[in-house]
Amino acid sequence: MVKKTLTKFLKRLKFWDRKRIGEFPLEVKKLYGGPNNLIKNVTFRVRKRDTFAIVGPSGSGKTSLMKIILGLFKKNSGEIRAYGKSIRKMKNKMAFCPQHLSFFSELTVRENILLFGSLNGLSDEGSIEKGTNYLKELEMENKIDDLSSILSGGQKTRLNIIVSILHEPKLIFLDEPFTGLDYFNRNLLWGFIKKLQRGGSTVILTTHLLTEAQKNCNRMLVIKEGKKYVMGDVEDIREKVNLDYIYEVKFKKISKKKEKQIERYCNIHNIDILSKQVDVFWFGIDEKKRAKLETLLRRFEHKTLSIREPEINDLFLKVAET
C-alpha cells in the first residue's frame, strides 16, 4: 500500500518536474470546468511532434476540453501549460481550427488568407506565400481567387484549416476536422497533418473516426463523461477496457424471450454485449470469460460469424457501454 502511494506520488512529482517544464507542448493537470462543469479531473501531457487524438462518445466533452485548454471555456481549477508557459502567452505558437467553417464566404480565398494571416501578425506577402504553399499541398492552388462561397464542401474544410495555421504554429488544435468529408478529402487531410507533424508541429485533434485516428495518431486520450478514461495507444486502451476477443454471433430463431435470457446471462457473468442488430450479437470478453460465453452459446442455436481480436471501434463500444 505504502509502496503504491509512494510510486504514485513520485510519478506525480515527475509529471510536474520543473526541469522538464517546457519540454512538452501541452500539459494539463487536474482540469475541471466547462459548461455544466462537464470536464472533471483531466490530466494528460502531449509530447513534441505528437499527433494526439482526443476521442470519446458524443457529448463526452472532447470539444469542451479543447475549448477549456484554449481559454474559450472557463476552467474552474487545474493547470494548463503550453511549452511550460501559460496558454495565454503562447498564442503566437498556437492555432485552433473550429469544427464549423469559420472564414468569410463573401471573401475570396486570397482575401481570407490575408485577413487571417494579418490577425496572427503576418505581413501580406508572408500570408500569401504561406497560403499559396498550403493551397498547393491541399490541391487548391487554382482556387486562390475564387469566392469562398463557391468552393466545394471538402475545399471549404481545407480552407478552414489553412486560414488557421498560416502563422506556422507549433501547437495545432483541430476540432473534428474530418466531419462530413469523403475518403479522398480525409486522406488528403491526414497527409497534410503528417506533413505538419514532420515540420515540427504538434497536432491535437478531436475525431470520431477511430480507425483513422488509430492509424494516423501516436496517442489517444479517451474521454468519457468529461473524465479521462484512458490515454495511450490502442494497447493501452485494450488493457484498460479489458477486452481480448470479439465474438460475432448470429442466433437462429431469436425471440424476445430468448434475447432477454441472453442478456440476463451476460449480466450475471459480466459478458459485454457490445452491439446487437436483430439476431446478430457482438460479445466482448477477456480470456477468463471465454468459457462462460461458450456455455451460453451452447444453449442457443447459433452460428459464430467471427472470433477476432478487438479493433479500436470495438474497444470504443466497450468504453461507451461501460
Binding site: 474559450l72 498564442k91 473550429p98 469559420s102 472564414f103 487571417f116 490577425l119 496572427n120
Partner: protein
C-alpha cells in the same frame, strides 16, 4: 366550395413555432416586454402633465392694474418669480441659468394700448436651443393667458357698446336740437358741442385695431441664447437618433454574424487582442454613421455652419457615434441570435428616445424620471452635439458634457471588452 385546411400539418407547424418561442426565454421576455414598454411610454408621453412646478420669471414695467391681473392669471398655472430691471438681460440670464423656464416682460405701454382697443405686446424669453421644451411651454403659456384675453375682449366689447350707445343718444338729442333751431332759431353752440361728442365716440371706434378682436395680446418670443447655428438644433437631434438606431441594429447584427461565423473564437485564440477588434468595429462603424449623416447633412446646410468649430463638431460626432456603436456591440455580445438582438435594440430605443426628451421635454420630468433621463446616454449625447453644433463651443476636456460622454465611452468599452474576453462564445 369547400376549402380543406391541412389540419395536421398546420397544427405541427404552429406547434413548432410555439415550442421554439417557449424554449427561447430571452426571446419570450422581449416579445412580452416590447408592447408593454411601448404602450407605457406612448401612453405616458401622450397624457403626461409637468412633473414639477414650471417657474416663470415676470418683469412688469406697466404700473396699471390690468398688467397685475395678467400676472395673477399666470400664477394660477405657473410658479411666478418677480424680476427687476434690466428686464431683458435678467430674464434671458434666468432662462440660461435654468432658474426659470420662461421669462415674461410686460412693457410700460401695455395697458395704454389695450385701453385704446389696440393690440398690445408682451415678450417671453425662452430656451431657443430646445424646441421641444419651448413648444410645450408656449402651448401652456397661450393656454394660461386665454382667460385674460377673453376678459379683455369682453371689456373691449363693452367699450364699443357704450361708445355706440353714447353716439346714438347724442344723435337723437342732436335731432331734437335741430328741430328747435328750425322752429325757434335756438341753441347753435349746443349743437356744435354735441356733434363733436359724436365725432369723439366714433373716433374711438374707428381707432380700434380690427385684429385686436382675434389677438388682443401679442406674444413676442425672444430667444434666451445667442445661437451660432440654429440649423444645428435639428441636425444634433437627427444625428443622435439616427446613429442610435443604425448602430444598435447594424452593429449588433454584425457582431452576431461574427459570432455565428466563429470569427470571435478565432480572434480569441489569435494574436489579435480584443481591444484591437473593438477598435476596428468602432472606427469602421463611426465612419459609416458619420458618412450616413453627411448624406442627409445638405438638408441642414446653411452659412451659419461656418460659425461652429469644425474640430469640436467632428470630435463630438465621433464620441456620440462611438458610444452608440459600443451599445450595438454590447447588444450583439449579449444576444444569442438576430431575433433577440433586433428585439433588444427596439426595446432600448424607445425608452432612450423618450428619456432624451424627444416627445416630452425632459426638463419637466418628475425628479426620479429626470434622474434616469440624466443618466441615459442619448440625452447627454444630444446635449454634447448641441454644444458644438448649435452653440459653437470649442472642444475642451474640461467640459462636463465631454467628460460625461467620454465616461460612457470608457464604461461601455470596458464592459464590451470584458464580455468579449470572458463570455463563453
Amino acid at each position: 366550395m369547400k376549402i380543406k385546411l391541412p389540419n395536421s400539418k398546420l397544427k405541427s407547424l404552429l406547434l413548432k413555432e410555439y415550442l421554439l418561442l417557449l424554449r427561447k426565454k430571452k426571446f419570450l421576455v422581449m416579445v412580452l416586454a416590447l408592447p408593454i414598454i411601448f404602450g407605457v411610454f406612448y401612453q405616458t408621453s401622450m397624457t403626461m402633465e409637468p412633473g414639477i412646478a414650471i417657474n416663470v420669471g415676470v418683469c412688469n414695467l406697466d404700473p396699471s392694474e390690468h398688467s397685475s391681473s395678467l400676472v395673477s392669471e399666470l400664477s394660477s398655472v405657473f410658479s411666478v418669480t418677480q424680476y427687476s430691471e434690466p428686464c431683458d438681460e435678467n430674464l434671458a440670464r434666468g432662462v440660461r441659468d435654468t432658474e426659470i423656464f420662461l421669462g415674461l416682460l410686460v412693457p410700460e405701454d401695455f395697458f395704454q394700448k389695450l385701453s385704446t382697443l389696440n393690440k398690445s405686446d408682451i415678450f417671453i424669453y425662452y430656451d431657443n436651443s430646445n424646441p421641444v421644451l419651448s413648444n410645450y411651454l408656449d402651448f401652456f403659456f397661450q393656454l394660461s393667458i386665454k382667460n385674460y384675453e377673453n376678459a379683455l375682449l369682453r371689456q373691449a366689447g363693452d367699450v364699443v357698446k357704450t361708445e355706440t350707445q353714447k353716439a346714438d343718444l347724442i344723435i337723437s338729442s342732436a335731432y331734437t336740437v335741430l328741430d328747435s333751431i328750425r322752429f325757434l332759431g335756438y341753441g347753435i353752440s349746443s349743437v356744435a358741442d354735441q356733434v363733436q361728442e359724436i365725432q369723439q365716440a366714433l373716433n374711438t371706434i374707428e381707432a380700434m385695431d380690427i385684429s385686436f378682436v382675434t389677438e388682443p395680446v401679442v406674444v413676442n418670443k425672444v430667444g434666451a441664447y445667442d445661437l451660432k447655428n440654429e440649423s444645428g438644433i435639428s441636425a444634433a437631434l437627427i444625428f443622435g437618433i439616427l446613429s442610435l438606431f443604425t448602430a444598435l441594429l447594424l452593429v449588433s447584427s454584425n457582431i452576431l454574424s461574427d459570432k455565428e461565423d466563429n470569427f470571435i473564437i478565432r480572434l480569441k485564440v489569435s494574436k489579435t487582442s480584443s481591444v484591437t477588434y473593438l477598435l476596428s468595429k468602432i472606427i469602421f462603424f463611426d465612419f459609416v454613421l458619420i458618412f450616413q449623416y453627411m448624406a442627409v447633412f445638405p438638408l441642414f446646410l446653411s452659412a451659419s455652419w461656418l460659425n461652429v468649430n469644425i474640430f469640436a463638431l467632428v470630435f463630438s460626432l465621433i464620441i456620440v457615434a462611438s458610444i452608440n456603436v459600443l451599445m450595438g456591440i454590447l447588444i450583439g455580445l449579449f444576444s444569442e441570435n438576430q431575433a433577440i438582438a433586433v428585439l433588444t435594440a427596439l426595446l432600448l430605443t424607445l425608452p432612450f428616445l423618450f428619456m432624451s426628451g424627444m416627445f416630452y421635454p425632459r426638463e419637466l420630468f418628475p425628479p426620479p424620471l429626470k434622474f434616469i433621463s440624466d443618466v441615459f446616454p442619448l440625452s447627454n449625447e444630444i446635449t454634447l452635439l448641441k454644444q458644438s453644433m448649435v452653440f459653437g463651443y470649442d472642444f475642451s476636456l474640461n467640459s462636463t458634457m465631454v467628460q460625461l460622454n467620454l465616461m460612457y465611452l470608457i464604461c461601455f468599452f470596458v464592459v464590451a471588452w470584458l464580455l468579449l474576453r470572458f463570455k463563453q462564445h
